[in-house]
């Protein structure tokens, strides 16, 4: 197991490196650099451009240095000081703006993942065990539609329905009466009551995919001879199904975390914009539109790193769950 963990962690390093390069590339791609944009911003606000300040900034970011030197400085700043650069739009440290939002995004993604599991498990098992029943068709159909509808469409439809029929406009985690309140039980309950809607919307596509995977795997398992044997020996049906085939078909279920996480984070970004939640999504889009590139690049970097770490965790979880992977180093499916 230890060998596997080490190998898997080592695999992660080049990926992290590549992500940081891509994120920095995103910062560098737009024409002009951070400073010209910053100066333009300052003059647009009618402020005089302080030449000493500019020289300080120039030195700090090494804007005349070649690409890789700049990249190196940026990464060193992040790793050593947690300094992600400056957001010129807010005139603040990026790190100060970012962490709250990232935390909410992460919380949302984790809750969504758990909910997807909770929903996908019973429905997936049901629709495999009762294949071609009315319920199976219903689950399959809902699953297909869930896969085909863009998340933000669902959010829009939901916003419209709640506006039209309940007369309230949705948006935000915290209701108005709790906006300035300190954290107490009432506020927590309020946030929870606002949270389930975005969670449900973000989770649709992932849940639908999970149901389909679980159903397909379980169907394959159920046709195997050992199931017949177990049944012939007189085990009750629920035990026959739950004890072995479900356990077998759960392995890919766990490994899907790896590819579901990127989808969740992406979906979260889109849905948050529509429902105006205070997560990364709206700030990221705003940063990209205004070419506030250090902010945008840092978001992309952190989201990417978190996803890779999540994938690592899911792989380790899978290795713990499935001894075949642990011992034979089977590539994950």
């Amino acid at each position: 197991m230890l060998h596997y963990v080490i190998r898997r962690v080592l695999y992660m390093i080049p990926t992290l490196f590549a992500i940081s390069i891509v994120a920095f590339l995103v910062i560098q791609l737009p024409p002009g650099d951070y400073l010209t944009a910053y100066i333009a911003e300052l003059s647009a606000q009618g402020q005089g451009v302080d030449s000493a300040q500019i020289r300080a900034l120039e030195e700090r970011y090494g804007l005349d240095d070649p690409f890789f030197v700049q990249y190196w400085n940026w990464v060193c700043g992040i790793v050593l000081d947690g300094d992600f650069g400056q957001s010129f739009q807010y005139n603040r440290e990026v790190s100060g703006l970012m962490w709250d939002r990232i935390g909410l995004t992460l919380a949302l993604a984790v809750v969504t993942l758990l909910l997807s599991w909770a929903i996908a498990f019973p429905f997936g098992v049901y629709s495999a065990v009762r294949q071609y029943s009315l319920g199976d068709y219903a689950v399959t159909f809902v699953g297909f539609v869930g896969l085909a509808t863009p998340n933000f469409m669902l959010a829009l439809i939901f916003a419209w329905v709640s506006y039209r029929y309940f007369g309230e406009s949705v948006g935000g985690f915290v209701s108005r009466e709790y906006a300035d309140a300190a954290w107490n039980l009432g506020k927590v309950l309020d946030v929870l009551s606002n949270l389930w809607i975005p969670v449900l919307i973000i989770g649709t596509a992932g849940t639908a995919a999970l149901i389909r995977v679980l159903r397909a795997n379980l169907l394959d398992e159920l046709r195997k001879p050992y199931v017949t044997t177990a049944r012939a020996k007189g085990l009750p049906e629920w035990r026959v199904v739950l004890k072995y085939p479900v356990r077998m078909s759960l392995s890919p279920f766990i490994s899907t975390i790896g590819w579901i996480l990127p989808t969740l984070v992406g979906g979260e970004v889109m849905v948050s914009i529509v429902l105006s939640l205070e997560t990364t999504g709206p700030l990221l889009v705003e940063a990209l539109r205004n070419q506030d590139m250090y902010l945008a690049g840092s978001f992309i970097l952190v989201l990417g790193v978190l996803t890779v770490v999540g994938t690592l965790l899911s792989d380790l979880l899978l290795a713990w769950w499935d001894p075949r992977i642990r011992h034979h180093h089977v590539e994950r499916v």
Partner: protein
């Protein structure tokens, strides 16, 4: 295998171009059919037809493709024709026959009665059942150029009188016809899906093929790249990259740039499929036989291996298109993809971004329904082809 002395015989080669050299291996599975008589393509087609969902999907898909080819003719108007008197006009119901006094066949819609709020200048519409706007087929209306080449002004459906407007799916904030805009958007959205997939197809086939056929270090390197691309959240990455597309680029340039961006990240699934097929086929007897017969690498791949998984590739391609369409829609919805003079489903949905516009005009969400339908049918067709291509089912 030793009983195959017909290698130099040209008739053998021309008789079964589709099954390729896989024939000796695959024929026993197609039980009942005389050897070489039923090409793989026909078998796949027979199995495909058995799935009702896939056939229905294929029909709708054909309709969508027709719509994107003949959008100018099919649209009641043009996407840019506006009417300031008809901002946010609700959809009009199309009536086919008038039963008020006897049966009078003929299509018509009721006109609106418009009341303008003097303060907000917002129009309120009520259906005016006393005035009718006759609707006809093959009517003259807004002039257009079919494919930018053939000038015409004949529309499949529209108001019989060119001076009147019909809004079958309502109007947007500039009084532009939503039906026409969705129809024109079909062309852009479907074509960006197809073009993006074509590009990722090339990337996926080449890189996946190399990876699977060569194996070893090349395989390892390409696999790491794929894992990397799959492990980063695509939407933020796409957003970052497309934000770097300069704003002053023309619509064609932006279109190409977005397509390239989508396929640069979207080729991974395809490469994995191709690699997987190559890996499993490499071990097959007929490939060994071909190699022992002295075939070159190019011939083994092109003539012996490729034909046996063409249908799998088609299935993966079909399943990749909806992915592209969804991505384009998301980007354009955020204002980071295609830009407004271009009409795509995502661009249209930009109008529906805030609750105030959709509260008053829910028909602005209709392009989203188009996206869902397109994605759904492409998935049905893709699943159908994949199942049909699987000889073990």
């Amino acid at each position: 295998m030793g009983a195959l002395p017909d290698r130099p015989a040209p008739p053998e080669a021309s008789r079964e171009p589709l099954t390729g050299a896989g024939a000796p291996d695959t024929e026993p599975r197609t039980a009942g059919a005389p050897p070489g008589d039923v090409p793989q393509r026909v078998l796949v087609w027979r199995r495909f037809r058995r799935s009702r969902l896939a056939v229905a999907g294929a029909l709708v898909l054909c309709a969508l493709l027709l719509v994107s080819v003949f959008s100018e003719f099919l649209a009641p108007s043009t996407p840019d024709a506006y009417n300031a008197e008809r901002t946010y006009a609700p959809p009009q119901r199309l009536h086919f026959a008038d039963t008020a006094d006897g049966l009078d066949l003929g299509m018509y819609v009721y006109d609106y009665q418009v009341e303008r709020d003097p303060e907000t200048l917002a129009n309120t519409y009520t259906v005016d059942e006393s005035t009718r706007i006759p609707v006809g087929l093959f009517v003259r209306g807004e002039p257009y150029e079919l494919w930018g080449l053939i000038p015409s002004d004949v529309h499949l459906i529209g108001a019989a009188d060119p001076d009147q407007d019909v809004y079958l799916l309502g109007a947007d904030r500039n009084g532009r016809d939503m039906a026409s805009r969705i129809i024109y958007g079909t062309r852009v959205s479907m074509s960006i899906g197809l073009a993006g997939v074509a590009l990722s197809f090339v990337l996926g086939l080449v890189l996946g093929g190399l990876s699977g056929y060569l194996g070893g270090r090349v395989d390892n390197a390409i696999q790491r790249v794929i894992e990397f691309l799959m492990s980063i959240p695509t939407i933020p990455l796409w957003m970052g990259l497309s934000a770097a597309v300069p704003r002053d680029w023309g619509s064609v340039q932006t279109y190409v740039a977005i397509t390239v961006l989508l396929s640069l990240i979207g080729w991974t699934d395809l490469a994995r499929v191709v690699r997987g097929r190559f890996l499993s086929l490499r071990q097959e007897d007929f490939v060994t036989a071909a190699r022992l017969d002295g075939c070159g690498t190019g011939r083994i791949i092109g003539r012996h291996m490729l034909p046996s998984f063409t249908s799998h590739i088609i299935a993966s391609l079909t399943l990749a298109v909806p992915f592209m369409i969804l991505a384009e829609t998301s980007l354009s919805f955020l204002g980071l993809g295609l830009q407004p003079p271009v009409v795509s489903w995502g661009v249209l949905l930009q109008e529906a971004q805030n609750i105030h516009s959709i509260a008053g005009a829910p028909w602005l969400l209709l392009p989203g329904a188009a996206v869902t339908v397109a994605v759904l049918v492409l998935n049905f067709v893709g699943d159908g082809v994949r199942d049909a291509a699987d000889p073990y089912r």
